[in-house]
């Protein structure tokens, strides 16, 4: 068998593929964060809790209303996105004139409250949520057994990421959004309802997190802490990619998934820290992140 650094190549390919799958979650979550930060200048620390709410929403839809995975993929992001809009209108919108720190504190606090409420109700061990019957089983790729569901995760996340990028960078609506970030007063003077646009953007960012949550529900434990464990890593991804850069967060998300996957082969003990080491190195060389505009 061919070996690379003492690891069979077949095993290495398997690990790279797994890295790509984890990378899709990083990409989707960091994308939502980047959209929100880019347009609202809010560092949304509630994101982890909203990802968790997405997973719980799909569990609730199934167990309380009998609605399965596929409708949940649409419904859960809409529901959680709606709660995000309420949050933005009620609380976050009051902070736009203040320093970043206030937004960070508020969203962090709200995230903790949401997590606490879910923990109180459902405990920490998690709830069972099955893989949809169309996607059970897997393919033998020769070098690894690839569960169908994981393949679907990569595809779904790529579609969502590219669609988001397309809307923001290539459409008229995206042009309004970008213009509104540069100069809200001027854009408003052209008769565009900027506050409404900002609210909807926040809702969309939250919906992205919830979508990732639904995708995660069948493979990860659906528990109130699932977002808290992930969000710190995702923030590191956003920082490495450059705060607010859409394409940067997508590419960095997938790339760091790969790096983490490789670490799990060569030095598993470091797999939870490797991303932060990279973050430190990147910040030393490029303080605005790999794809960030220099402030």
């Amino acid at each position: 068998m061919t070996m690379i650094f003492g690891v069979p190549t077949a095993a290495l390919f398997g690990q790279l593929l797994l890295g790509l799958i984890n990378g899709s979650f990083y990409a989707m979550l960091s994308l939502g964060l980047a959209v929100i930060f880019g347009l609202l200048n809010i560092i949304n620390f509630t994101h982890g809790a909203q990802y968790m709410m997405g997973a719980f929403a799909s569990w609730m839809l199934l167990n309380y209303l009998g609605i399965g995975y596929w409708p949940a993929l649409i419904l859960a992001p809409l529901i959680v996105g709606a709660t995000g809009i309420i949050l933005e209108r009620l609380l976050i919108s009051r902070l736009y004139n203040l320093d970043h720190l206030y937004g960070l504190l508020l969203t962090f606090g709200v995230g903790l409250i949401i997590q606490g409420l879910f923990r109180n109700q459902y405990g920490v061990s998690g709830l069972p949520y099955g893989i949809p019957s169309q996607l059970t089983g897997g393919q033998n790729l020769g070098f690894m057994f690839m569960p169908n569901y994981r393949g679907w995760v990569v595809v779904a996340s790529l579609i969502v990421c590219l669609a988001t990028w397309f809307i923001i960078e290539k459409t008229r609506l995206g042009a309004y959004l970008r213009a509104a970030t540069e100069n809200p007063t001027l854009v408003q003077a052209f008769g565009i309802n900027v506050p409404l646009m900002i609210t909807l953007t926040y809702g969309a960012g939250v919906a992205l997190a919830a979508f990732a949550g639904v995708l995660a529900a069948p493979i990860y434990s659906v528990n109130p802490n699932m977002g808290a464990d992930l969000i710190i890593v995702v923030f590191a991804v956003v920082v490495i990619g450059g705060m607010g850069s859409i394409l940067g967060s997508i590419i960095t998300g997938f790339a760091l998934g790969l790096v983490e996957g490789l670490t799990k082969v060569f030095y598993p003990e470091a797999s939870s820290t490797v991303i932060f080491v990279i973050m430190v190195l990147v910040l030393l060389v490029k303080p605005a992140g790999l794809f960030g505009r220099t402030a």
Partner: protein, 400 residues
């Protein structure tokens, strides 16, 4: 002014009470564990409920003891745990710290307890070092330890034909101890360890580690982890077709809360070693129903049951002595035999290990289960003498 009057009033009342009847021995118990993280369902707030039930059952007021219970969240961080322990002992007058899941935190609290000469009764914590190389005269390890788990599950699985193992180990004190003890048990039973991988505590994605385990071609994948780490491992092993391809999973530490969360469909057939399961005897069923009534319908885990029983044993010793002096109480607890409603007959050895029978269970198939909480069937009972590491093998300096 108001406060002064109040203090005076309290002092007078105390004097009167002290003079008239008998002096009450005030004891303060501190339940310290993971209240919100991945181990919160194993012990967490349920352990506080268990401690309260024990006090309720003991009726301490009628026996000249006044009990107060406090609790705190150590967040699975040794530094947080030892800071709380220090504050409790120094400022808050806590006499006994209970439970302490997460072995790394338990070892830290054990050090503080020794330094302050108080009492530490471990239930949720697992490492067998607490009564081995790191034993102190202040520890009582009540419910289980890594040696007992390895001895139960490790030997049983190896003897049943699973003679090559790949270890999937949580990278901290507990995982290391469980890995070590399991490797010994497997080798003793005639098996061998073909590989291992260490994963960080609280990992979401195990697929990478599972593929490494799969590539090792070992017959058995030993999970030296706990809580949601174990749940995620089992869930993802099914997804990657590991169990279907002939490798089997051995859960070295699985609590009933984990099986509940997995569901019987995913967990069926798993073998596990436990000191306590709610549906064992009339006494355990009665206790568990009371516990469930007080705790949102959830049955107690063995860690929570262990807190209940260790509180009772401690209070018995204090009652016998009418004193809470650490040295005297520790001696008394080791002298009094354990005849416990939940854990059966046993005793506390000189190294602090409480010994009692352990049980090898198998998780039922969904069609065998008669109710929401009907999850295990007994495969074997491991008698008290064989359930725990022999005294001479632990390397505890207290054993002469």
């Amino acid at each position: 002014m108001k406060r002064k009057t109040l203090t005076a009033a309290v002092a007078v009342t105390a004097l009167l009470a002290g003079g008239s009847a008998f002096a009450q021995v005030p004891v303060k118990l501190g339940v310290l564990n993971d209240m919100s993280g991945l181990y919160a369902d194993i012990s967490g707030p349920g352990s506080v409920v268990a401690a309260r039930l024990a006090v309720e059952d003991f009726k301490p007021e009628s026996k000249g003891i006044k009990v107060e219970i406090v609790s705190a969240d150590h967040q699975n961080k040794p530094d947080v745990g030892s800071t709380i322990a220090r504050k409790w002992y120094d400022q808050d007058g806590v006499d006994v710290i209970l439970d302490v899941t997460t072995s790394s935190v338990a070892l830290a609290v054990s050090d503080v307890t020794k330094e302050k000469n108080k009492i530490f009764m471990i239930s949720g914590g697992g490492t067998s070092d607490l009564t081995g190389a790191k034993c102190t005269a202040n520890n009582v390890h009540w419910t289980y330890d890594t040696w007992a788990l390895a001895n139960g599950t490790g030997s049983a699985v190896t003897k049943a034909g699973g003679d090559s193992w790949f270890m999937l180990t949580a990278d901290y004190a507990f995982g290391a101890a469980l890995d070590r003890d399991t490797s010994e048990a497997v080798k003793k039973a005639g098996g061998k360890i073909v590989g291992s991988v260490k994963h960080p505590l609280s990992t979401a994605d195990f697929s990478s580690f599972l593929l490494q385990a799969q590539a090792s071609k070992a017959k058995v994948i030993g999970m030296a982890n706990a809580g949601s780490d174990t749940i995620n491992t089992i869930k993802q092993a099914a997804e990657f077709g590991i169990t279907q391809s002939g490798q089997s999973l051995a859960g070295l530490l699985i609590f009933s809360s984990d099986v509940k969360s997995l569901g019987l469909q995913a967990a069926q057939g798993l073998k596990l070693t436990e000191a306590f399961y709610w549906d064992q005897t009339d006494a355990t069923r009665a206790f568990s129903k009371r516990f469930a009534a007080a705790f949102g319908g959830k049955m107690p885990t063995s860690a929570q049951a262990g807190v209940y029983s260790s509180v009772l044993h401690y209070l018995k010793a204090v009652e016998a002595l009418k004193d809470k002096d650490t040295t005297k109480v520790m001696a008394k607890m080791k002298e009094l035999p354990i005849d416990d409603a939940l854990f059966g007959k046993g005793s506390i050895r000189v190294d602090g290990r409480a010994i009692h029978p352990m049980y090898l269970y198998e998780v039922k198939k969904p069609e065998e289960s008669k109710g929401e909480w009907d999850m295990y069937k007994v495969v074997a009972t491991i008698p008290t003498e064989e359930a725990f590491r022999p005294l001479k093998d632990g390397g505890c300096p207290l054993v002469k």
